[in-house]
Every structure is written in structure tokens, then in C-alpha cells.
């Protein structure tokens, strides 16, 4: 999950909680890696994970990096939600 909001911030917490609700429904174990956009690097762009969540809270500190992850997920068929 790409998000710049601080831990504990309402919308960040709501997004993580929504993923928990969904994983409970799916009876799936989900590991969420929270990534601040200014730490996006080439490795993350090349391998964004099993799924990507673009969290709320723009403006992002590194909008170019967010675009690269979005492009990578689109080209690689990786599920993505942007809210």
C-alpha cells in the first residue's frame, strides 16, 4: 500500500482495517507492506507485490514514483485499487 499519511491517521487506519475486513471474508492471510511514496525504488517498481493499494492522502511526496508503480501494475496484470 502506497500512502504518505502518518500511522494512526484516520484514513490510513481505515484503509488497513478495510483490508482486514476483506481478508476475514476471504479467510485469507494478508500481509500489507505500507510504503511511503518517497521510499519507492526501482525494486518496488519492478515487483510491486501481489496487489497494490494506492491510499488516500494526496498530494503524494513522490507522485512520479506512484505513477511508475501504477504503470508497472497495469503492464504486469497486478490487481490495483486507487482510492
Amino acid at each position: 500500500m502506497l500512502i504518505d499519511l502518518a500511522p494512526g491517521q484516520r484514513y490510513r487506519a481505515a484503509t488497513l482495517t478495510a483490508l482486514e475486513h476483506a481478508s476475514d471474508r476471504q479467510r485469507a492471510s494478508v500481509e500489507v507492506r505500507v510504503v511511503a511514496t518517497d521510499t519507492i525504488d526501482r525494486r518496488l517498481v519492478a515487483d510491486p507485490g501481489t496487489a497494490v493499494v494506492i491510499g488516500p492522502g494526496s498530494p503524494y511526496r513522490n507522485p512520479g514514483g506512484v505513477l511508475e508503480v501504477v504503470r508497472s501494475a497495469r503492464e504486469r496484470g497486478i490487481p490495483l485499487v486507487a482510492t
Binding site: 484514513y11 481505515a14 482495517t17 475486513h21 476475514d24 507522485p63 501504477v70 490487481p79 490495483l80 486507487a82
Partner: protein
């Protein structure tokens, strides 16, 4: 997601988000009427992935958005493999999804704010289902 779509697929090379300044072509612009802290009713596009997930053609959602797809750019939401998945009561685009991808969805509302224990929001269920199918 819309800026990437505009730049890489719609050919608007200088597509920009107005929140980052005034340069380029503003694909995302300040809403004439901010939706910050509001609850809106959205109409879901029949046969869209979002409508299928929600099992309905209408949804009530919370939004914190002050920016949205620029009025003069609404057409790009239905081009180059993207389609409109939801509009609000003014007809403006509030969600888009890709038709050439297993699951690629952007909302101009915040579905996470409607999720509750035992009642997960369909958007996040859809994301996890797609991820599990790919794993």
C-alpha cells in the same frame, strides 16, 4: 491512475494533477464543489466490474475528495481500455476501471470508510479475490 492513463495511453504527454501546480494539461482538477466529508450516491455502470462486485447499480459512499477528473477530460475515462464504472448525480465520473486487466479500479470516493466487520466493502473483497486468483 488517471494521470498514468492519460500520459501513457491517451497520448496526453503533459497530463498533470492540478494539486501539484499549474504546469501541463490538468487531467485532475479542483472540483467546483468540494466533496470533502460528504456522502454521495453513485450510479454504477451496468456490467461493470464494480457493479458486479456491489451487486447493485447504485451505492452510497463517503468521500474526502476535493479533486476529480477535469470536466473537459471526462471522455478519457471511456477510452484506451478504461471505462467509467460510476458517476455521481451530476453525471461526473466517480470511478473507473480497466477492461483489459484482471482488476484495476480507481474511485473518486473512499470505499474503505464504508467497510465494517462482517461487511467488507466489495471493492476490497474484489481486490483480494483477484490477488488470490493470481497467486
Amino acid at each position: 491512475m488517471l494521470v498514468e492513463h492519460a500520459r501513457d495511453l491517451a497520448g496526453i504527454l503533459d497530463a498533470a494533477h492540478a494539486e501539484y501546480g499549474t504546469g501541463g494539461t490538468a487531467v485532475i482538477s479542483l472540483l467546483a464543489c468540494s466533496l470533502q466529508g460528504r456522502t454521495i450516491t453513485v450510479r454504477l455502470t451496468p456490467s461493470s466490474q464494480l457493479a458486479t462486485l456491489c451487486g447493485s447499480l447504485q451505492a452510497v459512499e463517503h468521500t474526502t475528495c476535493s479533486y476529480g477528473l477535469a470536466p473537459e477530460m471526462q471522455h478519457i475515462a471511456d477510452q484506451h481500455g478504461m471505462r467509467v464504472a460510476a458517476v455521481d448525480d451530476t453525471g461526473e465520473v466517480r470511478a473507473v476501471e480497466r477492461t483489459d486487466h484482471p482488476f484495476f479500479l480507481a474511485t473518486l470516493f473512499q470505499p474503505q470508510l464504508r467497510s465494517a466487520p462482517g461487511h467488507p466493502h466489495p471493492v476490497f473483497v474484489g481486490l483480494l479475490k483477484a490477488a488470490l486468483a493470481r497467486a
